[in-house]
Amino acid sequence: MAIEVRNIVKTFGSFAALDNVDLKVADGELLALLGPSGSGKTTLLRIIAGLDWPDSGEVAIDGENALSRGASERQVGFVFQHYALFRHMTVFENVAFGLRVQPRAIRKDEATIRARVKNLLDLVQLDWLANRYPSQLSGGQRQRIALARALAIEPRILLLDEPFGALDAKVRKELRQWLRSLHNEIHVTSIFVTHDQEEALEVANRVVVMDKGRIEQIGSPGEVYDNPATAFVHGFIGESIVLPVDVAGDAVRLDGRPLNIPALGAASGAAKLFVRRHDMAVGPAGTGALEGAIRHVRSFGPIQRAEVALSGSEGKTVIEIDAPRDRELQAGEIVSLQPRRYRIFAAQE
């Protein structure tokens, strides 16, 4: 089912959690809402679920106004960061809950409910845990049960709030891949919230980057990584080198000295130069836009990571670059640096 969110505004006291947010989610998509804490991503998810209400704006699920219905009538599957399993019920009863509370007129008979719960437990590969209590499960198992429970009501859309946030790194990785393949299997429109960029880029078809209650960029994982629309996105997704520069026409200056790179259409005035660590080419002294002394080198895997103190800044500006290991760098060496790909954004207040 498609979801459409229009002009959503939500404030908590004087804090604007969502500031005029518009979003369209296509049928069958797996969308990530990515942002730091306080960016409004969870609030947006809760509003779509009906667990929070916006101050103004519209939410439509499959073309019909969702705000005229309460959470219990929206048929939306919601998975919580801390699972929120019913602690006094077995795994089986947890999954069966949504089927047992249906109005008598449409409630299935016991045999159908049992069969359906069994199918769901098979789907999440945990049928052998049916008679356990939530406290007897590991975090990863609990989250899979929470997902099975949400799927039991045949949700029109599935919403996941930091679904892997409370799990350790290894389980997280496994569950990510598992969620992707599950989505390929059942194809229900899904939105998940995360503050972990790697998770968003790895799992989602499309990523919505949020900051301070606004959407900064919407795009495929490749787009938001390679073509960040704003300084925030560039800084938030992937590691970036950020240098304060001045733009005058097409010239870019760092600490008053011209850098030999075009401004790429950035407006004149104070600005910030963003370069990915691995997009900084290292060459012999005197051949690049920047120059500096290598302070320290660590080599691991295919790269060497060097700390470089830029010349002309009295050694105060130190940046970290990733270079391939075709030529071993030495501490103390003077090298030149040339940004292969970079973006310049006007500096914000």
């Binding site: 019913f86 077995t90 509370v101 406290s135």
Partner: protein, 320 residues
Amino acid sequence: MSMQTGLATSTTQLRTYAPATDVSVAAPAPRLEIARAEPGTAQRNLRTEPGPIRFIIIALAIAFLSVFVVLPLVVVFASALSKGVVAYVAALAEPEALAAIKLTLLIAAISVTLNLVFGVVAAWAISKFEFTGKTFLITLIDLPFSVSPVISGLVFVLLFGAQGYFGPWLQAHNVHVLFAVPGIALATIFVTFPFVARALIPLMQEQGTQEEEAAISLGASGLQTFFRVTLPNIKWGLLYGVLLCNARAMGEFGAVSVVSGHIRGETNTMPLLVEILYNEYQFVASFAIASLLAMLALITLVAKTVLERRLDEAEVPDGD
């Protein structure tokens, strides 16, 4: 031992002989620390006191408990049975005694039932919703704890007495509140109001609202959510609150004494009757009733211990 009557002295006397009311005041907080400190004492000798000091401290605690808890209890039962079991049973079979027991049970039933409902509603509102004036409401709930029971009784005299605000109207319509069951029930409800709410608020706050939100998103109605999710999660805490509420309702003296009117065989509850009989030198009868209250205290104590264990285990339900 003083033979004076008068509210203040008789209250203290009762507290010493029949500690039923005092049991209810004990806060459940320290049990956790004790439970955690116990394991590991063997390995951590450096972190505990040397043997002799420990011995002295433990001996002091035992001596204190013996003098202030065990001894009074023994005295109550010994005095009650001092003229033999026959006299004891006869004292309890007196019509006045039976009326007092009946009235006490009735009052406890009324006030526990109503406070069960009020307490759950108040705790639900406070722990699951955000609204302005929440802190004020919590303070209000605690008010009966901080006000002397005598004042709590007097409030109802001022409201419903012959010279009170509603007194003339009530008299004109022939409704008896003061010196009758409704007044005693009102005073008891007021005094025992905090118990259920107080037992539930921390528990429900700790449990948060996520399970309720999950239930609602799965299509459950408000009532279904309450009965299938909230109530099962708080049942042990609720029983705990009810237990303490009941102990206090049966043992309440001050507030009830003010509104009861001490009409023999009609408005005397058990604690009131104990005082009256005692002042009339009917020691066996007085202590016989007191022994019932003391028994209630002991039962409450055992039940409380069991419930506390269940509350601790509530996090990890067994069953495989």
